[in-house]
Symmetry: C2
Subunit: 395 residues, 2 copies
């Protein structure tokens, strides 16, 4: 018998998943035991996806669009994406610059794996979306973090980025609006970051999944700088803009040779994305402004409510987020860090949040809530958080 140190591979030792799914799992266990919980942990909407898109999927399903499709994405959807980019960003990518994937999340792994070698470096914020750090760890890529804080709206400063560029830097991640912070970066800063990428010959991963949710200012994409031909890979998807998180359809626009490799990697892993879902995504894109308006209006209202209710909690510190549907709250004045407060709030006060530590060490004193909940639940949940903060402080 051949003995080995571990049953699993070294790679598998580094695979840890997404922290919010872990919290969700714990919460479900409590619910099975009869606990009443309000959920703010997952970045999912309380709203339903557009009925028109559902109907279109049903039609395509009925019509037998259920066989293997093109692993780059169906031609019809790639043309629709091309058209949408032209309308929204005033440049027309070639069809070879467009790839459709199983959600926008896989693109984090695909882009990193295709562009960066183990030991090389990627610059991103701390805190940043959990999959970034999970993928960097998995691939043994060094995440070089720029600390961001609610004290200046979680701004991602070009100066701080430049200080951290080394010979090993390959990629800068721009996620605006940002998950978990809700920060929206200014056009001027994004232009400066692009200039740095050009100067030092780096790639930019521009994760724009929350682009349709900017409440103050305007969304600006680094992709317009080089038309995604040289160094910018724009990623987006249907999950967040249209409340279609369970569909798993996303897309990227980037330099042809990079997109080709992403498509081949996607082909090797998942083969293709369901054609009947892609057909329906064409409808979602063609009516995107109309659909987005509905969601936008609702989220904007909920943002006000969340800020108003949580603004009453004197132990909480946060800056009003300009985009996305999250609120990143500094809970250190409760005397607890984010992990402890999360556990305490869930077990003792029936409200589930996401501990900021899941987004990086700079998130330790924070909790993140997703405020895309019904008004009633949002208010109820905020009040539970208030009680939790007050009680925690007295402990």
């Amino acid at each position: 018998m051949i003995k080995r140190k571990s049953k699993i591979s070294n790679f598998a030792e580094r695979v840890v998943g997404q922290s919010m799914f872990k919290i969700l799992g714990k919460a479900k266990d409590l619910e099975i035991k009869g606990k009443d919980l309000i959920h703010f942990e997952i970045g999912d909407s309380h709203l339903e996806m557009p009925t028109e898109v559902k109907k279109s999927a049903m039609k395509a399903l009925y019509n037998g669009r259920t066989h293997y499709g093109d692993s780059r994405g169906e031609h019809i959807l790639r043309v629709a994406i091309q058209k949408a980019v032209k309308e929204d960003f005033k440049f027309t990518p070639s069809l070879s610059q467009v790839v459709v994937t199983s959600g926008a999340n896989p693109l984090i792994y695909y882009v990193m794996a295709v562009l960066v070698n183990p030991g090389e470096e990627v610059i991103l914020t701390d805190p940043a979306f959990v999959t970034y750090n999970a993928v960097l760890d998995m691939l043994k890529i060094k995440g070089v973090h720029v600390p961001v804080t609610h004290k200046n709206n979680f701004n991602f400063s070009p100066k701080e980025i430049e200080k951290r560029i080394t010979k090993k830097t390959r990629l800068i991640v721009i996620n605006s609006p940002s998950n978990p912070t809700g920060a929206v970066y200014s056009e001027s800063d994004i232009r400066k970051i692009y200039a740095l990428a050009k100067k030092y010959n780096l790639y930019i991963l521009s994760d724009e999944i929350y682009a349709s949710m900017v409440y103050e200012g305007k969304h600006f994409s680094a992709g317009v700088m080089d038309k995604c031909k040289e160094r910018v890979i724009m990623t987006n998807g249907f999950s967040k803009p249209f409340a279609m998180t369970g569909w798993r359809v996303g897309y990227a626009i980037g330099p042809e040779e990079i997109i080709e490799k992403i498509a081949l990697l996607s082909q090797t892993i998942v083969s293709c994305v369901p054609p009947f879902l892609q057909d329906a995504c064409v409808i979602a894109l063609s009516q995107r402004h109309e659909f987005s308006k509905r969601y936008f209006k609702e989220y904007k209202k909920l943002r006000e409510i969340a800020c108003r209710e949580l603004g009453k909690v004197k132990q909480f510190e946060f800056s009003k987020p300009k985009g996305a549907f999250y609120l990143m709250i500094d809970v250190s004045r409760t005397g607890m860090d984010g992990d402890k407060f999360t556990k305490y709030a869930m077990e003792r006060h029936g409200v589930v949040v996401c501990p900021g530590s899941g987004f990086g060490s700079g998130g330790k004193k924070y909790i993140r809530i997703c405020y895309a909940a019904s008004e009633k639940k949002l208010i109820d949940g905020c009040r539970r958080l208030k009680r939790a903060a007050e009680r925690a402080t007295k402990k």
Copy 2:
């Protein structure tokens, strides 16, 4: 400016995709130019998926099962898989032994990545399904090949396996019925392979996606030997048994700690599998015997036709496949290898096949056809292949 040798990572250099999708791409280019082609290259069925399953997906879609789901797979589907395993294999895996993924294909990557380190070894047949070799190359794992040939029904001999076991061996791949060869391994051989795995402390990946298509003999799973508790990972899915290739839903049963890591890896990459599709897969599983019967009858008939028609081609050599829906044909007597013959048959005779070289160097003299086509197309295509073989020989 920091200069680098390559724009892409070393990993990306090794990502090549699936050869049949490349052929399909070339064929589509010819079709755009007006060429009439018959397609035998992709492992997809001409039959439609069960209407009952479509209806169930529509209902779930309508009912809003369109949000994030459990990344291990929906509870309801994992319970259905557990029940199906109990009925078909007489053992009951725990729910923690079951994971649902975006098709069975991703499981090749997930299992390899989770179990095998770069530089370690995996034993498999040559030829073998293209994704195996693609993933091994990507992950820098050494594929140790056992040559198999139509001369003895592509048999995967336990003796030949044992000769190749070294201190670096981690995993043996059993794919029965096999793609591309159609071989079905005997219970006695599979028991011997399991005994080797036990003796040398190895894992077995038992890829059973064609288990419902065995025309001679009986399907036997290595999973029954250890109830998937110790060293066997069974993989299966909905694509092939129910003509649902475009759905991308598959599953694995294996040791709990391995399944947990696969689920975390799947979570990191794709987040989850669409819940509304998983709901419908419950229906597919609960009526699987009834559904499979329809497909089985049709494929069995088409196998007879393909063997009859291609048996008339004196330049072709093949053994009648016992399972799956492929025929692996030695074309060396045409004076061409599989690559040349594929090009020649497509461009000059209007029939698209898959060159055997895509399945490993042992496949070079072969072409693979998928005979899941309408009777009319199958006969027409076989006659085109006959003409191609005859003309090729005269050249």
